[in-house]
Symmetry: C2
Subunit: 516 residues, 2 copies
């Protein structure tokens, strides 16, 4: 039977805080309440998308809503435009510029804001799985939030091709009530699908270094960007207290970044820009205490870039006063302290942790699915269908993005790959009725990599793509490419207006340093 | 001796959360650390401004920085443009549109982000008073924030005219360590002044109704607006859960407002606009459960407006389905429940509380200052000088804004009055060297009152101002006045560009419903 035991949901950021809401542009019929939308068309097949990141959001955006009943399940009711998060974290852009609401395409789509932490044991019914949703602990006023559970029932072959989208309430199974991840307060419901797209992404990798989850900031979500912005300003306000010593000031204004990938590098660059423009102006005596330090276990930063570009970036950083400690190992993190094997104790005011991806626990716990031994990603065929353990594909289930990889074709876990896979899959899904022929297998077209390295400079690498023109580019031209790249990407018109407005305003008036 | 026992600091919003940072555009010389700014001019008199609201910020903005060494002490590092908060709370505008950073005018001004809760007993030194600053409890990452205390030493007559701005650290006095307001972890410092402007504002009035501080939202600060916006979206997400009953949906989507003043009315109007545009589109089955209810103890809302305008507003609200319960008394608030004397238990999803102003505890605890018996406001003469208990004025201390009132001239506690007083005072302070003559006493010029009542309509009242043209206005023309009014007000160029940009974008694309 088809994918009997596969249920997932996205968790794009750190596991500490999680959200327990479910909602829909239009909700289907209810077991225990008057349906508030009875006009849901019954003559379409149901497509369920798990996750609203680069993969899931692109499918949501481009899918033919005339052809499909689309349901999206994601812990966020928005898509994170990740390349702009570093800019948001230092105030170059407003947070909302880096998000797109998933309900933009309503009322055609149903969106459930839901968080899953757990795949329960199969219940009595055929193929049922349980998603446990935790309660949001972030808001002061959310104490009344009702936690809830989601059940996704997989379509069984004996069922009609388009069974009515139905929800069934029942109490949560007792077996799970003892686990810490199970809040035990919610009411589960059942959701059936015809086609499923798994785009749940990955977690931040911490390599099990103690204290990282508690004391470091990640940079995967707009909430992370907001927390970082607040913390930077807080560090400066604290350092400006007249009663603290210069030693304390140096500690507070040491900004550490662990992980020399593009995220870490771009954040360091943006932070450097902030320190040497607005901060210098508004806290004139303090920037001389400020320091940016970047750590990586690898012998060089920006591993995926060409060596000459890395050299250029390192030289630029060095001239800017950003310290790069490669081949350094962080052993543990305590409040305001980092313990580096090669350096001992390093005090910091802000620690940003960006050392790559860890498997999504939901993917990890999935059974009868072929998974990569190293990364625990779901293995798909080159048509992106999820494979069973014996290697045969599930015909109605696809996996894209950081949670998935194609068998024998290791592509980088980037937004570009996720986005191209989503585009490929959407074409296929939109065509499914009109053209029964199987489309060509997925092929990745490398558009090159861009990274901002500060002071209006960037690096651009397209070597290895078979394109001989503009293989590598550095400096201002690459910066222009970097900026203009965003306008061809998944941004709404609204944000295509807002982003340059903020760039312009902040160029003229400086970044806003209001802390609230 | 001059104002021996007066020390205050602003607390613009609810007392529950408070902030403990001190900072400065440039900091003065330190007792225990190397000064990081030694270029502070010594040849100017020192003006200290307490509070960054309508009074304090206007003084900061317009004061002659060539003439004065300006130091601002405020718990926020920004000014709240309060008339836009209701718009921010429903997503018509971005939060940052309603704030202006106090450091915009640095490096000429020194700004300390500091929070005072307490005036201690006079210490051994002449005229010293202690401000106790509490710790911010809002941010996850602020746990390391160092709480601190501020001492303001009042200039003594025997001291030189412009003593060096000095900070002196010492441990907090033991006498206060037992009070709950005293964190006991900070290091106090002493700050002297030549002239002092008290513009600390007032608190939200709760009439000691139990549960208000815990379960209601105020709308005095941009942080309040953010919390309300989050809560509105949360209510809709919760109500959209397929497993909850319609009764629960009605409870969650009952939006209650207590207080029928302009703040409450404008919020109700903005919320109504939101419910009947974006919410109707994105949660199509839900808005029929939504309800806005407004409560007031008075027999009518908008007490300060002309009766015909109130009738117009009430009629508009009635047609819009906003319920107005005048002469109703809220007895207590519990999580999700309001207890109204006339109605019994009223469940709600969001409660916004806006019933006027309560005296600032710092003002309350000030001694040797003439205060109003009813409101506890500081009494000033018509030159805005603070009066001693015996009625003689302090020549170097002024009080403006909601914390102060002129003897025998009861003006409304509005932004307009605060702003005009600040303008008057700034003129006086800027002139002090050039023109020794005492300026004319303060005179209030009523520019009329405007309130938005939803659906692109407003009411405008200028009756009683002696101006016979355009005394009263309703509907679209008043709305145009309402909108254009903001462009003549205390907004920076940056926000003068951003505000209409957001108005335009949200008019075209709808408000953003992203919840993060």
């Amino acid at each position: 039977m088809l994918c009997k035991k596969m249920v997932f949901a996205g968790r794009p950021s750190r596991p500490a805080s999680c959200l327990v809401l479910a909602s829909g542009g239009r909700a289907p019929a209810y077991a225990n309440s008057r349906a508030f939308s009875s006009s849901l068309p019954r003559n379409k097949e149901r497509l369920v998308i798990l996750g609203s990141g680069w993969g899931g959001y692109e499918v949501l955006r481009a899918i033919d809503k005339e052809r499909w009943n689309v349901t999206m399940i994601s812990p966020n009711n928005y898509f994170n435009f990740t390349p702009l998060l570093a800019s948001c974290a230092v105030g170059t852009l407003e947070f909302r510029c880096a998000t797109e609401p998933v309900r933009r395409y309503s009322p055609e789509v149903v969106a459930y804001q839901a968080w899953c932490d757990h795949i329960g044991k199969p219940c009595q019914r055929f193929g049922e799985e349980i998603l446990i949703l935790e309660r949001s602990a972030t808001d002061r006023f959310s104490s009344e939030t009702i936690a809830m559970c989601t059940l996704i029932t997989f379509s069984a072959p004996g069922m009609p091709a388009t069974p009515p989208l139905s929800f069934e309430t029942r109490s949560a199974p007792k077996a799970d009530a003892t686990t810490t991840q199970f809040p035990g307060t919610g009411t589960p419901f059942t959701l059936t699908y015809d086609k499923l797209v798994i785009a749940v992404g990955a977690y931040s990798q911490t390599f099990d270094v103690p204290g990282v989850k508690e004391h470091a900031h990640f940079l995967k979500d707009v909430k992370d960007a907001r927390a970082i912005r607040t913390r930077i300003l807080e560090c400066f306000e604290q350092a400006n207290q007249p009663t603290i010593s210069d030693v304390e000031r140096r500690k507070l204004l040491n900004f550490c970044i662990v992980g020399g990938g593009p995220t870490g590098v771009e954040f360091a660059a943006e932070l450097h820009d902030l320190l040497h423009t607005e901060m210098e102006r508004h806290y004139p005596g303090l920037t001389r205490f400020a320091k940016i330090s970047m750590y990586d276990v690898a012998p060089q930063i920006l591993g995926m870039f060409d060596e000459s570009l890395v050299k250029y970036a390192e030289k630029t950083f060095k001239r800017d006063g950003i310290s790069i400690f490669t081949s350094h190992h962080v052993e543990r993190v305590e409040p305001g302290k980092l313990f580096v094997k090669e350096q001992g104790e390093v005090p910091f005011g802000l620690l940003v942790w960006s050392t790559g991806l860890a498997p999504n626990p939901l993917v990890q716990s999935a059974s009868d699915v072929k998974k990569d031994l190293k990364t625990s990603s779901i293995i798909t065929n080159d048509h992106l269908n999820v494979l069973k353990e014996d290697g045969t594909p599930y015909s109605d289930v696809w996996a894209i993005g950081d949670a998935a990889m194609i068998e024998d074709a290791r592509l980088p876990a980037t937004a570009q790959v996720a986005n191209q896979k989503a585009k490929y899959l959407t074409k296929k899904l939109n065509r499914l009725v009109k053209d029964k022929d199987s489309p060509k297998p997925f092929e990745f077209h490398n558009q090159g990599s861009l990274a901002y390295i500060g002071n209006w400079k960037a690096i651009y690498d397209r070597s290895g793509t078979g394109n001989n023109v503009m293989n590598k580019e550095t400096g201002r031209l690459a910066w222009l490419l970097w900026r203009s790249a965003y306008f061809t990407m998944t941004l709404s018109v609204r944000n295509k207006i807002l982003v340059p407005t903020y760039w312009f305003l902040n160029w003229i008036f400086g970044r806003d340093l209001t802390r609230f």
